[in-house]
């Protein structure tokens, strides 16, 4: 048997959870490791250095999404891909060291989910990109709590933003995206993704001891 390590997906308020689910590096179960008021969502994996493949990144997301909507749902503070620990001790040290930051993030993200909106112009269009950008982002700002701009990595991308949305106001955000999709259907494709854990709205830096 090869050695086992602990992969951490994110942090929730203290709660005992065990879910049979496909995780990072072929893990088959996600379970919680606690420290006082916090619980980290983890899986046992066989490497200290999981590869950032498409499959692994998707598994990371899926575990977080499943936990977010398990039973009645809960707030999750996501960790970035790749947080692996030798065993429970260093992980608990991170929870201890970051307790204040995690607790504050859990409070701020309470009931929030993240959505991604990308607007991609068709190849042959002459549409006024600035006007589209302004009009759509103004509309989405009114139905979201916060927004984060992401890279415009392609010439065809007009908007690439993440939005923090209150779960209770999700339908308002959905219909705003629908309206935009219809309004520009001639020349713009809208890619709407989520709900995600609020990756773009939590920024906690902790060094393990």
């Amino acid at each position: 048997m090869s050695e086992e390590y602990l992969y951490a997906y994110g942090v929730i308020e203290n709660e005992e959870l065990g879910i049979d689910i496909e995780g990072v590096e072929g893990a088959t179960r996600a379970y919680t490791v606690d420290h006082r008021t916090l619980s980290a969502i983890t899986s046992d994996i066989h490497t200290m250095d999981p590869e950032e493949t498409e499959e692994n990144v998707r598994a990371h997301d899926e575990v977080l999404q499943t936990v977010m909507f398990w039973d009645e749902g809960r707030t999750v503070v996501p960790m970035q891909f790749g947080m692996t620990f030798k065993n429970e001790r260093p992980l608990k040290n991170v929870l201890r060291g970051g307790r204040r930051a995690f607790t504050q993030a859990l409070r701020e993200m309470d009931g929030m989910v993240e959505f991604g909106v990308k607007l991609i112009v068709d190849e042959e269009t002459t549409i006024d990109r600035d006007a589209v950008r302004e009009s759509t982002t103004n509309r989405l700002a009114t139905v979201s709590e916060q927004e984060a701009q992401n890279d415009l990595f392609s010439d065809r991308l007009v908007v690439n933003r993440s939005y923090l949305v209150n779960r209770n106001e999700r339908s308002a955000f959905d219909s705003a995206v629908d309206t935009i999709t219809d309004e520009y259907s001639d020349s713009v494709t809208v890619q709407y993704t989520g709900p995600w854990a609020p990756y773009n709205f939590v920024d906690i830096e902790i060094s393990s001891q």
Binding site: K118, I120, D151, F153, S154, R156, L157, T189, Q191
Partner: protein, 83 residues
């Protein structure tokens, strides 16, 4: 004469290294390759690119990125040695 050679050659080679570094930076622009990778993925997700085309392009870009990483690594080692 030795002194003159030294003075003449040393700055000349270091300028060359800098020029070479700039050329590598431009020729092997890793950010641009990464952007192309993201665009490839996006166009596949939108259905504008077939899976076969997406996979072929992915492989091509990954090779480019590996080469670029290697070029940068070689160059940064060189510069470190000089310093």
């Amino acid at each position: 004469m030795f002194l003159l050679d030294d003075l003449f050659i040393r700055p000349f080679t270091s300028i060359l290294t800098v020029i070479q570094a700039m050329a590598v930076e431009e020729l092997y622009d890793r950010d641009e390759i990464k952007n192309d990778m993201k665009e490839n993925r996006l166009l596949f997700e939108l259905g504008e690119r077939s899976r076969a085309e997406y996979e072929r392009r992915s492989e091509e870009l990954q090779t480019q990125l590996d080469v670029a990483n290697q070029a940068h690594e070689t160059l940064s080692t060189k510069i470190q040695v000089k310093q």
